[in-house]
């Protein structure tokens, strides 16, 4: 016979052991000899995932859904396979930013927003609180059942009929509240570890696993002949055999959505975040935990199906609730000790969850909901008060008490109703709402605070509408018509088939719609809103947490003295801990920080992180802002940095331009140099040509003069002849020198031109007069034909120079025209708004390949050695220079033997 007092004594003994372990754990931590600093304890503490909902509920679910319970444990296995990316990054981010809770994590990512952290806290409390109630309920129900030993059946009385003083759930609440307060709020710094608590939770994980395995082994091998035997017997019943397939277990949609849901829950349930991320002592432990946690889940699930089928076979009439098989099977087989052990196992599963969940939630409530509110309420002048660490701890303790009280009241109010039984998955769905902002926040920098806020709000509202409120309706709190016909009989708004989406089970349905609105709005709003400076810097800190440099650049700047920061930190974490923290910081810096020296960005950031560990990122930011003046300072500084960067860019751009200019200059210089070399060569050529040209007449003059000198007796006729030659050669020499001077001056630009608008006819006529001499010589027969149009345009030129050109051309024509019957033809006409003058002869002409040559200096076509030159060789080059200067052009048209036609064209003025 199992007496009530024995059960109570054993339960109390168990709780005492728990307290002892927690106390020992904290003691060791204080001595710096941590017992939780190994991967096994870490993995076991993560197994807090398995609550009494697993311990009792898995079998219940299996009894009605076959393998339908399994995705809840397969999902976490999948998540842990990816843990090396996902969890390691979350842990690293949390360590760097001293994250204290999941609300802190989200708020910190999106610009340390107090609003956002408050929202997350509210979602967590509303979503998880009923789950805590479920644990309390499980403890009291299992206790009541065990009291009836050996009678097996549904619990005779629901908790509602029992007075509070006789209700186990009440005492359990009180005891666990004490535990959570003692071991969950020892330190103000919530980012440090609750070593005692973790040690106790790990111990509880061992107990519940052993208890469940013991029951499983007993049922499988004690009551039946192994697993095969149970299934073989079940096979005979058609109803049981239908559970062997997925189709009989809720279908594939449910399978996939439960997998997804539990993948999110294993990380994003606040208690899981607490043990996996916040309580993680060493990142390296994760490597082993990655496979230890799935292994634990595997072990605790091996016997779920055998127990479920064993129970269904043992109690075929359905009088016993399948949720209690773990307890009732040993009882029915009169195994007192085993039944008691099973009860303790269930108790351990429930208490572990309650402890961690309340500690996690209380941290969130105090840091992310109450503190920001109090700090912002100016009337309290809280930010000016002295030591606040006591206040924070008090808030946390009150929150724990309040949460447990609320949980207990919830149990009393709704009793056995549907709301409690289904709440496990409903809580999972609430936690899944944190997935989009966290996952996107860790890998995508563009996500904004407004986006996260919109997504979370939408997800939470849809969650409440599709899961929470319906659970109230099914509990009879609100009319059932709400479920069947929708609110106000609007079909489209039926909570279980929102917008007409039918054919899904309620959980899959809610998961789809919540994530649809949550992720959808998050993306949409993020892409259409901008981020503040702090949001940007936090985004970089989170996404690039593994990059060294991401920790080096603090956006946060301001003017504050080190002493002020110290004081501020001391007020929240206490003087001793502040001294300790800053002492270590100074040690790492290698220098002392004077109280009155200015705090640089790193010291401010360090102080803020110390505060964040105690009161959360959002509150810490408010507090730091109250000390660090000039909140906009950092933006100025940002602009300055931007400015510097753009200056550097500008500088390098200028350098580039300079070098480009230099390149151009170099090219120009090279060109100039080669041109100079060319000119030098030309000059040498020119000088030698000029000397040659000068020497020819000089030689001739000298020879004839010598003849006259040496032969005084030469005849008078001969002497006259020689003198005439000397005079002519001298004239030629003078002309040559004149021409050389002329062209040299023109090329050097030393001639003062006097351009004026003139009448070309007069110029041409003057030139004709000047050259009329040769045409009247008797020894040569040269005809001059002129044809000057009446409508010649006025041109801009210098009359004398133009005359010189025409004279040159005519003289050339005379020189080269036919010896016997020479004809020189000069025409002038208006052509296309310009003056066109042609001078043609009927001489030997010029071969086309020589056309360009005739305009070069000293280039006379023909054999210079045999033919005596007839001019200076500078006439045409001078013409070219003059015509070019007047803006016109000059050219020649000729064939060898067909005479030559020189022409020039001057634009009309």
């Amino acid at each position: 016979m199992l007496q009530g007092w024995i059960i109570i004594a054993v339960a109390c003994l168990y709780l005492c052991i728990l307290f002892a372990i927690a106390y020992w754990g904290d003691k060791r931590a204080d001595q710096n000899r941590s017992i939780i600093s190994n991967p096994y304890i870490y993995a076991l503490s993560i197994a807090v995932y398995c609550t009494s909902w697993t311990f009792y509920g898995s079998v219940g679910r299996a009894a009605s859904n076959g393998v339908g319970f399994l995705p809840i444990y397969l999902g976490p296995t999948l998540t842990f396979i990816l843990g090396w990316f996902l969890l390691r990054k979350m842990i690293r981010i949390s360590k760097v930013n001293r994250i204290t809770s999941i609300a802190d994590f989200i708020a910190s990512r999106y610009g340390k927003s107090a609003t956002l952290s408050g929202l997350v806290t509210i979602i967590a409390v509303v979503g998880i609180m009923p789950y805590i109630s479920l644990q309390l309920k499980a403890v009291s129900t299992s206790f009541t059942m065990l009291l009836q030993y050996p009678y097996v059946g549904s619990a005779a009385s629901s908790s509602q009929s029992v007075s509070i003083y006789a209700d186990t759930a009440f005492y359990v609440s009180v005891l666990l509240g004490m535990f959570a307060i003692l071991f969950g709020t020892r330190h103000i710094d919530a980012s440090e570890h609750h070593e005692g608590m973790v040690a106790a939770v790990a111990f509880e994980s061992v107990v519940k696993l052993l208890a469940f395995l013991a029951v499983g082994l007993f049922v499988t091998f004690g009551m039946y002949d192994g697993i095969g035997d149970i299934f073989e017997k079940a096979q005979t019943s058609e109803k049981l055999a239908s559970l062997f397939t997925v189709e009989g277990s809720g279908g594939y949609t449910s399978w996939v959505s439960l997998t997804l849901l539990s993948m999110a829950a294993i990380v994003f349930l606040p208690r899981q975040f607490q043990v996996t991320i916040v309580e993680c002592v060493n990142e390296a432990h994760l490597k082993k935990a990655i496979w230890l946690v799935p292994l634990y889940l595997f072990l605790i699930n091996i016997f779920v199906l055998p127990i479920a089928f064993g129970g269904l076979l043992r109690f075929p009439d359905g009088t016993v609730n399948a949720d209690t098989f773990v307890l009732t099977l040993p009882m029915a087989e009169r195994q007192e000790a085993l039944a008691l052990f099973a009860f303790i196992g269930g108790l351990s599963a429930a208490t572990a969850m309650i402890i961690v969940a309340t500690v996690a939630l209380s941290t969130m409530v105090s840091n992310d909901l109450v503190m920001p509110f109090l700090l912002r309420t100016r009337r309290l002048r809280l930010s000016k008060r002295g030591d606040l660490s006591g206040l924070i701890l008090t808030i946390r303790r009150c929150t724990i008490a309040f949460l447990l009280l609320l949980g207990y009241v919830y149990v009393r109010l709704i009793g056995d109703s549907y709301a409690l039984v289904s709440i496990g998955l409903v809580s999972f769905a609430a936690a899944a709402q944190f997935a989009p902002p966290i996952l996107a926040g860790m890998y995508w920098k563009r996500g904004t605070r407004a986006g996260a806020f919109a997504g979370l709000t939408a997800g939470f509202v849809v969650w409440a509408y599709t899961l929470l409120i319906p659970s109230f309706a099914r509990s009879g709190w609100i009319p059932a018509s709400f479920l069947e016909d929708g609110p106000f009989a609007i079909e489209m708004l039926k909570p279980y088939s929102l917008f007409g989406l039918q054919g899904l089970d309620p959980i899959s349905h809610a998961l789809f719609w919540t994530l649809f609105f949550n992720a959808g709005l998050f993306l949409l709003v993020s892409l259409w809103t901008s981020r503040s400076v702090i949001e940007r810097s936090q985004a970089i800190q989170f996404v690039e947490v593994f990059r060294e440099s991401s920790n080096g650049h603090r956006v946060w700047r301001g003017s504050a003295a080190v002493g002020e920061i110290r004081q501020l930190v001391a007020r929240f974490v206490g003087e001793a801990r502040m001294q300790d923290a800053f002492g270590r910081y100074e040690l790492s810096l290698g220098r002392k920080l004077a109280d009155n020296s200015g705090a640089d960005a790193n010291i401010v950031a360090f102080g803020e992180r110390q505060l964040a560990g105690a009161i959360g990122a959002a509150s810490a930011r408010i507090m730091i802002a109250s000390v660090v003046r000039e909140e906009l300072h950092d933006i100025d500084e940002m602009m300055e940095m931007l400015d510097e960067a753009s200056q550097v860019i500008e500088y390098s751009r200028r350098l580039e331009q300079k070098s480009r200019e230099l390149q151009v200059a170099t090219d120009n210089l090279k060109a100039a140099n080669s041109r100079l070399k060319e000119l030098d060569r030309l000059k040498d050529g020119f000088i030698s040509t000029v000397s040659h040209e000068l020497r020819t007449p000089l030689t001739s003059i000298r020879s004839f003069a010598e003849i006259i000198c040496d032969n005084p007796d030469i005849s008078r006729e001969e002497r006259n002849e020689f003198c005439t030659i000397i005079v002519k050669e001298s004239e030629r020499l003078t002309r040559l020198i004149d021409d050389i001077l002329d062209i040299a001056k023109m090329e050097a630009g030393q001639i003062d031109w006097e351009l004026r608008v003139i009448e070309p006819r007069a110029v041409i006529e003057q030139a004709l007069i000047a050259t009329s001499g040769p045409f009247h010589q008797e020894d040569r027969k040269i005809r001059l034909e002129t044809e000057i149009a009446a409508d010649l345009p006025m041109i801009q030129a210098e009359g004398d120079r133009l005359t010189q050109v025409i004279v040159n051309l005519i003289s050339n024509a005379v020189k080269f025209c036919d010896k016997e019957d020479g004809v020189v033809r000069v025409t002038a006409e208006r052509s296309a708004n310009s003056l066109l003058v042609r001078v043609a002869d009927n001489g030997v002409g010029i071969a086309p390949e020589d056309h360009s040559k005739v305009f070069q200096r000293f280039q006379q076509v023909g054999n210079m050695l045999t033919n005596k030159p007839k001019g200076t060789g500078l006439g045409l080059p001078i013409c070219v220079e003059i015509i070019k200067y007047f803006g016109g052009e000059i050219g020649v048209e000729s064939e060898a033997g067909a005479g030559a036609l020189f022409w020039f064209r001057l634009p009309a003025a």
Partner: protein, 89 residues
């Protein structure tokens, strides 16, 4: 080859394998009312695959050489704060 990446890549491969094995359509193959050694095929398949995945996971994490590039972060809060270059200049 960066060993830290190697571990990550092996784990991603394992994750993909797990997703494939534990979901339809592969699940459909074993979703029948037949039994193997008296145990329903589906149950046997799921638990065997699960155990297999956990063993692979253990083998991959334990026998992939440890990361060399980034040191695991121990719980010393100073590690992240003290070493950074003042002013980020």
């Amino acid at each position: 080859m960066n060993t830290s990446h190697l571990l990550g890549e092996r784990l991603v491969a394992l994750f993909l394998l797990a997703v494939l094995l534990l979901n339809p359509p592969l699940l459909l193959i074993f979703d029948s009312s037949n039994s193997v050694a008296q145990v329903p095929t589906l149950y046997l398949y799921l638990f065997v695959v699960w155990a297999l995945l956990i063993s692979l996971l253990a083998i991959v994490t334990e026998f992939t050489p440890p990361a060399t590039d980034d040191e695991p972060l121990t719980d010393d809060p100073l590690q992240s704060s003290g070493s950074s270059d003042p002013d980020g200049a």
